[in-house]
């Protein structure tokens, strides 16, 4: 971990009562700060609670929310809920995989894009939906995937990623 990351983890641990039940809350807080859970952070958390790193890792890997590699600059989430699926969500996901050359859960080598699928974000009226860094792109189609990526690329070149974080 970098110096900043170590400090962020310490800050989270200091603000939390040392009760085993807060484990998930702590992991959430660390991920909120760092964007992912580095292995060293998991070790720190284990020391904090006096439990084994395996137990912490076991809990962290059980829940879908936690990730162990940093996200891309643009984190693309394709909704695969029932409504999105029935409106062609799989074709949209395929299009992203094809265009970016990565699979779900992966990050492009330049760390610009990461791709993820999610169960349902509750925007079923706008299906199929894609969320990029919190911004919702409604009624997606495979064709619109290229448009979205072109837009993100342009924003990246302008250095404009104000939606992030």
């Amino acid at each position: 971990m970098s110096k900043e990351e170590v400090e962020a983890v310490e800050e989270v641990l200091e603000s939390c009562p040392r009760e085993r039940r807060h484990l998930i809350r702590i992991l959430q807080a660390i991920q909120e700060k760092l964007g992912y859970l580095p292995e060293d952070a998991l070790r720190e958390v284990a020391l904090f609670f006096g439990i084994s790193p395996a137990e912490v890792y076991g809990v962290a890997t059980f829940y879908n929310q936690f990730r162990f590699v940093p996200l891309g600059k643009f984190h693309i989430v394709v909704c695969m809920g029932t409504a999105c699926h029935s409106m062609g969500g799989a074709l949209v996901l395929d299009a992203f995989q094809r265009e970016l050359g990565i699979k779900v859960g992966e990050v492009t080598p330049d760390r610009k894009y990461s791709l993820e699928r999610v169960g349902c974000i509750g925007c079923c009226t706008q299906a199929p939906v894609v969320v990029v860094n919190g911004r919702i792109f409604p009624k997606m189609t495979p064709y619109k995937v290229e448009e979205v990526l072109a837009k993100l690329k342009a924003e990246d070149e302008l250095g404009g990623d104000k939606e992030q974080g």
């Binding site: 039940r21 076991g58 936690f66 029932t82 094809r98 925007c123 079923c124 706008q126």
Partner: protein, 635 residues
């Protein structure tokens, strides 16, 4: 401040709004925001400020009319109209409303959805919409009408008075008896009698006891609990305090999803406001009863909606269900007696205490009294939330409340009860919605998600989709769950990919039976439902996939091909050629007509999407060999 002061101040605040010469309500729940409600709010706010108008602008929750969002309700008594509800209010509509109605006197009825009046149970209704003839809103009574972030609105509409009556005038056994008399069954899906659950928890000797509100709404396509918590959090909080009193708990948890940030934000605000008024915490209403609530954020695991898994998750562990008995009411959170109730169950507890058990019992059917809240999504015109008395038929819900399937499509099936529910077809449409009829039809009531499917949805692929979801979300503890669901999924993948063989259907049926018998928890035991119900209502589709390698709905990618009809292809247009991601479309040099190179085509459907509607030259065929037939016809 004592209760009388709190209440009269809240009432004064509310009636000031009601009687104001102008009052604007804008719905800003998550679904409204996705449709652009925050932008609408900003437009109104800025414009009113620029005009120097001091008009109260209230952010309200969701009325359930998601198809019409962003939704704006304007009350202007001097216009002679009751409050008017406007649909899809974006930039142009907002400017028009301000210019013509707020500054002028034209009510802009052409963009109105209808007028709003307070109907039965004091719930806002829009009489112009057919759905309100069927709906009865108990859980949704305040949704879309009050500011969920202002406890005074809730109190002015009668909130927390029932709690006061309970704490000062009834003993816990009496509360349980009244809930029993009302016949309330848990709205989480299984339909267990709430009073029985409460009574058996109360009987336990061990202390402390806990109450958990299950707001872990993980079913894709379901958003009832989100809407209730975003639009009227206090009705759930009040229900929780009543429940806590009845079972003898001093601490409650609301377990919700991290995917619902607005729910968490609004709940925290609501809890703070309730604490500030002394409605939560020590010695509530001077009754000697103390109760507090903590919000727990889930971490994205569907299985945690199962009550034993949920208790482990609150303890900070992996959320894996355990064998029951002992039930949670005997040994739940930290081994202590625990009641787990759904969001809507708790909101109904508040209503029952307000209206009395006998009046509640008269709504709905004998075995399932009260109302049911459904989230309607998929191929239906009026996507959104509704609340109907139990016993209403599925047909009424889909066609009268939901407005039916969009033009040009045909109703095929409705998927009810979440991923582990079932898909029922046309012949089940006259089923009354209640716990027992659904079970008889092979589905489960579930928590209330309802996805309408039309003839462009393949039922085998739909079953595959749900099993895929369930196998990802399976916790891995019992072997029938871990391997059985996976095997079901693999067989379905084979069938949808054209690798199905004779005997697969029987294999599926046998395996489903094994899962029903062998799985440890209800997630596993209900996992066969999507397969069993699609087999029951749409068996011929399975047979077409297996025997003819054909997908009748033209969905399964390995069983279809795209084809450009030469007679419809317009020569000069190059839309498909330019957009095809794999350059699979070629132009005939002589005729300029387009043709798809089948071995390069990835079947993404872009050509079908971009082909101008006046040509509609791209079609899908199944089985793929049909292309050769069509091509030879040309030759």
């Amino acid at each position: 401040m004592n209760w009388e002061e709190i209440k009269s101040r809240a009432e004064a605040k509310w009636s000031a709004l009601e009687e104001a010469p102008l009052h604007i309500r804008i719905g800003t729940p998550t679904c409204g925001r996705a449709a652009g409600a925050l932008e609408t709010l900003r437009i109104f706010r800025e414009r009113l400020q620029r005009e120097g108008l001091d008009v109260p602008l209230t952010e309200v929750g969701c009325m359930g009319l998601c198809f019409a969002e962003p939704l704006v309700i304007i009350s202007k008594p001097e216009s002679g109209f009751p409050p008017i509800c406007y649909k899809n209010v974006r930039f142009d509509e907002a400017q028009k409303l301000i210019n013509d109605f707020i500054l002028g006197d034209d009510p802009c009825l052409e963009i109105a959805l209808g007028t709003v009046e307070l109907g039965q149970d004091d719930a806002p209704v829009i009489p112009e919409l057919e759905r309100f003839e069927i709906e009865r809103r108990l859980v949704l009574k305040n949704c879309g009408w009050i500011d969920p972030e202002d406890i005074d609105h809730y109190i002015a509409r009668g909130g927390y008075s029932a709690l006061r009556d309970v704490l000062l005038g009834k003993d816990p056994e009496q509360v349980i008896a009244e809930i029993g008399q009302a016949g309330l069954r848990g709205r989480g899906g299984a339909g267990f009698l709430t009073s029985r659950k409460w009574a058996s928890c109360r009987r336990q000797k061990s202390e402390p006891k806990y109450l958990i509100c299950n707001a872990d709404e993980g079913d894709p396509g379901a958003f009832m609990d989100r809407v209730v918590l975003e639009s009227d959090p206090h009705s759930v909080i009040e229900g929780m305090i009543i429940a806590g009193y009845a079972i003898g708990a001093a601490k409650g948890f609301i377990y919700t999803r991290m995917e619902y940030p607005l729910v968490i934000e609004r709940l925290q605000k609501a809890l703070e406001q309730a604490r500030a008024y002394g409605l939560l915490g020590e010695d509530i209403f001077g009754s000697g009863f103390s109760f507090d609530i903590e919000v727990i954020r889930g971490a994205g695991a569907f299985i945690c909606g199962e009550s034993t898994a949920m208790t482990y998750s609150i303890e900070g562990k992996r959320g894996m269900p355990r064998v029951r008995p002992p039930r949670s009411v005997e040994r739940g959170l930290w081994g202590q007696p625990t009641v787990v109730n759904n969001v809507k169950t708790l909101a109904l507890v508040t209503r029952i205490m307000e209206m009395g058990p006998d009046e509640f019992r008269e709504i709905g059917t004998r075995s399932s009294p009260g109302t049911a809240v459904f989230a309607l999504a998929g191929k239906v015109k009026q996507i959104g939330l509704c609340e109907v008395p139990m016993g209403t038929t599925l047909r009424q819900v889909i066609f009268e409340v939901g407005g039916g399937v969009p033009e040009g499509k045909e109703f095929k099936a409705v998927q009810i009860g979440g991923p582990a529910g079932g898909c029922v077809g046309e012949e089940a449409l006259d089923l009354p919605v209640d716990f027992d009829s659904f079970r008889a039809a092979g589905a489960i009531m579930g928590s209330g998600g309802m996805i309408v499917l039309d003839n462009s949805n393949c039922m085998v692929e739909t079953a595959r989709f749900f099993l895929d979801f369930l196998s990802r979300e399976d916790c891995g503890k019992c072997s029938f769950g871990r391997l059985g669901i996976k095997q079901l999924l693999m067989i379905l993948e084979d069938i949808t990919a054209g690798r199905g063989k004779e005997g697969d259907i029987e294999l599926l049926e046998g395996l489903c039976e094994d899962l029903l018998q062998g799985c440890l928890c209800n997630l596993g035991r209900t996992a066969p439902n999507p397969v069993l119900t699609t087999l029951r209502y749409f068996r011929s589709e399975y047979e077409a996939h297996i025997r003819e390698r054909r997908c009748p709905a033209l969905v399964c990618r390995d069983l279809i091909a795209y084809f450009i009809l030469p007679e419809k292809c317009e020569k000069g247009c190059d839309h498909c050629v330019l957009t095809c991601p794999t350059e699979a479309i070629v132009t005939d040099e002589r005729t300029r007509k387009k043709r798809i190179l089948q071995d390069k085509c990835v079947k993404c459907g872009t050509c079908l999407e971009v082909c101008p509607p006046e040509y509609s030259a791209v079609i899908k065929v199944s089985p793929p060999e049909k292309v050769k037939e069509l091509e030879s016809r040309e030759a």
